[in-house]
């Protein structure tokens, strides 16, 4: 090994989550903070997200992705976080010994705390099993966003988008503005996957049709995509007979979901939640392995970067406290998702401070409430005019409420 280094806090991944965690770890008293990033710049996906809408929660204004990233990049630089670019983490042990691969050779880092903020990747054609030939012209929406907005490369002129995830919707508008023909967006679910604001400003504004309960059943073309066959699906996702139609196009964009990049998390042996596939964490964002924290999209896929930032700032602060004092409040109160919710985070809380719970509902709901219960009694209730699976719900519960908790258990559910 070329060298051996020591750090109070090592943050893995320099996207929005890692930037926020590193900056706050430094502010919270960690003396050496390393930010490990495999790309040649920090900012992650924000660098390619040239559209606006970032920062409405943190800065109360709508910034573009690069502007939002620049604020945090400046912040880590001002606070003298050490950023290692083009640095690939190949291993992390339970004892927080990190091995990295870069043009300086293989190096090891002994870290007081480790923050996992590796983000997520896009689900691919192979993973969803779209049938047909394997021509050029099938791209994930995020890859096209990168080609267009970072590398100045146009992938095609006549485009069908499969999946109504936010990146797909954003790319529908982007392609349309740049002169491509966006034939339609097809979504297999009966409801859109992206947020309402994007349906309005990306599709409705440009008269781009959205076909719900519809999917691509076959891709055509031997060399380059020549078209796709769409078909409607029934309630159990089975193809409806007689609904097939061919649509000519040269490009198919996939916006069919994001997968947290938890390969390292799993390799370390950290306990994960089967629903989010991310680590099980407490309200300090501690994982099951002492001294290892997780935040941002690797923990749960966010639809608002501001919330990923806020979550990561807490994780960074906690990581610094743990590295410097070895002490964080015990989180003995078990939190579980009840009726109507796919999951709730964190999995355990200490009750010593306010907690921002994040969760997603199973279904679209109107005029319902998110209810926190312990021992059958209500601890807190928040009316939600509107909930949808596409939108993460974030509810703050003040520490005073936690006095009502009995038997160290708290359930969160959707109710009238």
């Amino acid at each position: 090994m070329s060298s051996h280094e020591q750090a109070d806090v090592a943050v893995i991944g320099g996207g929005p989550a890692g930037l926020a965690a590193a900056a706050e770890a430094k502010a919270a008293g960690a003396s050496r903070v390393l930010l490990l990033e495999r790309d040649d710049r920090v900012g992650g996906i924000l660098n390619q997200q040239v559209h606006d809408g970032f920062g409405t929660k943190v800065f109360n204004e709508a910034l573009t992705g690069p502007e939002y990233a620049a604020i945090y990049e400046d912040r880590v630089n001002e606070r003298e976080v050490e950023t290692w670019l083009k640095t690939h983490v190949i291993n992390v042990t339970k004892d927080r010994l990190i091995t990295v691969h870069s043009d300086k050779g293989l190096r090891t880092i002994e870290a007081g705390s480790v923050v996992l903020s590796m983000g997520c990747r896009e689900r691919t054609r192979g993973a969803i099993g779209t049938a047909g030939t394997r021509p050029a012209g099938v791209f994930t929406a995020g890859a096209v966003q990168n080609y267009m907005n970072v590398r100045n490369l146009a992938v095609g002129r006549k485009v069908v988008i499969l999946g109504s995830g936010d990146i797909g919707l954003i790319m529908a508008r982007r392609l349309k503005l740049e002169g491509a023909e966006v034939v339609c967006v097809a979504e297999i679910l009966p409801q859109p996957s992206g947020i309402g604001a994007n349906l309005v400003r990306c599709l409705e504004d440009f008269d781009i049709p959205l076909y719900l309960s519809t999917t691509v059943v076959e891709i055509h073309g031997k060399s380059r995509v020549t078209g796709v066959t769409l078909a409607e699906v029934g309630p159990k996702m089975g193809e409806k007979k007689g609904t097939r139609r061919f649509i000519e196009c040269d490009t198919l964009l996939l916006s069919v979901g994001l997968i947290p990049e938890n390969e390292l998390t799993n390799k370390i042996g950290i306990i994960t939640n089967p629903v989010t596939t991310g680590a099980v964490v407490d309200d300090s964002f501690r994982t099951s392995v002492p001294g290892i924290f997780s935040c941002g999209n690797v923990l749960q896929v966010h639809d608002v970067v501001d919330y990923a930032t806020m979550e990561s700032e807490k994780a960074g602060t906690a990581a610094a406290i743990w590295a410097t004092t070895g002490k964080l409040p015990d989180a003995d109160i078990k939190v579980s998702a009840g009726a109507g919710l796919r999951y709730v985070l964190p999995a355990t809380i200490s009750g010593t401070d306010a907690v921002d719970f994040t969760m997603r509902s199973w279904r679209e709901e109107h005029d319902q409430s998110v209810i926190f219960k312990s021992g059958g009694e209500e601890v807190r209730r928040l009316r939600m005019p509107h909930m949808e699976p596409a939108g993460m719900i974030r509810v703050r519960v003040g520490k005073g409420r936690f006095r009502r908790i009995v038997n160290n258990e708290l359930t969160v559910e959707v109710g009238a």
């Binding site: 691969h101 990747r121 691919t124 993973a127 050029a136 080609y147 002169g179 060399s223």
Partner: protein, 498 residues
Amino acid sequence: MPDKFDVAIIGGGVVGCAIARELSRYQLRVVVLERAADVARGTSGKNSGVVHTGINVPTGSRKAALNVAGARVFEDFCKDLDVPFDRVGKVIVALEEDQTPDLESLMARGIANGVPDLEIIDSATLKRMEPNISGAAALNVPTAAIACPYSLNIALAESSAEAGVEFMLNSPVTAINGDEGDFQITTPGGTVNAALIVNSAGLFSDKIARMVGIKRWRIWPCRGEYVILDKRAGSLINSMVYPVPPKGGAGLGVHITPTTDGNILLGPSADYTNDADDVRTTPKIRRQLLKEAAEFLPALSPRDVITAYSGMRPKLVPSKVGGFGDFVLEEVPEQLGMMNLVGIESPGLTASPAIADEISGWVRERIPAKKNSNFKGKWTAVDRVRDETPEKIDALIGEDPAYGEIICRCEMVTRKEIIDSINNGLEATSLNAIKYRSRATMGRCQGGFCGPRIIDLLIENGHSPESLTLTGGDSWLFLGSVEDLRKGRTREAVEAGN
């Protein structure tokens, strides 16, 4: 390029390239004509990568002889070319007691064909060997092995090219004129003259034969779909797991095969088609593969699927007839000077060194030649960081910092390996040419992250964006810049510089 070649090999599959490598030992002028933008694009690139022992082929057939002969030398064949090879062994599993007689007859045939160390094991022994597999009994075939089929094919081609063999990619043969000693072979890029022809065109070997008036063979393409699983599922099995072969079926049944890279393959299916290029995948067969594999391996999860793909078998027997079709290696009276290799389906990969040996003999009987001093017995393409020890990785990075930059994170491929793949000896420049040489884009993100960075390197190496393709030909990736899109320019106009 010389005015005239001694030998023209039509088809850059594993058989054609093994012959090229064998001939490159001698001072012969050899050309390989390949219709696709790279070698290993047909049957040879998409199969299970199994080095068969010879238990599945009728005793006394050419298939059996060439299979067993090939299997005997295959490990060295791979080692010489630095190609991944692993003797993982194979278990042929009887799900129910009543299939045990089938295991016994397979074993008897294996023994007759000279396959060593065969034994029938009971359910408990199977469980010890393969804790995740359930079955009533199994035939244990410990000498069966796996190799990386496309890596072998590419290594054969590139090592031959280095020793002086010419490769003409994107060169489908459209006509053959002349006679032994003076053939004229027409391709879209021009005419090639050669004294002898080796027809190793696989799926198109019947069409090549017909160009000189040989009408006795017909190839029946038979598609096989595969599902490939993430490496995290790779530890579910230790060896290859096969069912008892279906009676009269077109293949060996859906099997579970580890790859030399640590993934698992499920498949292949068997569907006859009229179109040799029809490498579709279908949801029906994907579901069926997962279902059939789960009968042996209940721990399989559809979540582990990375992708599906299809290969194509060049069968000599139509689906209605079924059953066995032997390998054809024949020079026939209708056209002397042309060696036809027809119906080389499974176990063609295993047999390829033995076939190459035989064809080399046929060539040298006709054109005696001295040894070629440029031939290298041992050949290495590129050091692969993922296979190296930490000390070696450090040393490689010290030699060249490009080894220190990981481009493909899923498969741990460095910038150095990508650049070496771009500068391959065959001048194959498609994105897939880089994929099959470096493994970049083969992992779970399927190029979502590394695709753009590989494109950067291609552009840095002098390729224009609008000239880049996925698989050559019309498989273009970019129409131009965002400005070109904005201005309504077509890709052709951008490429022409308008």
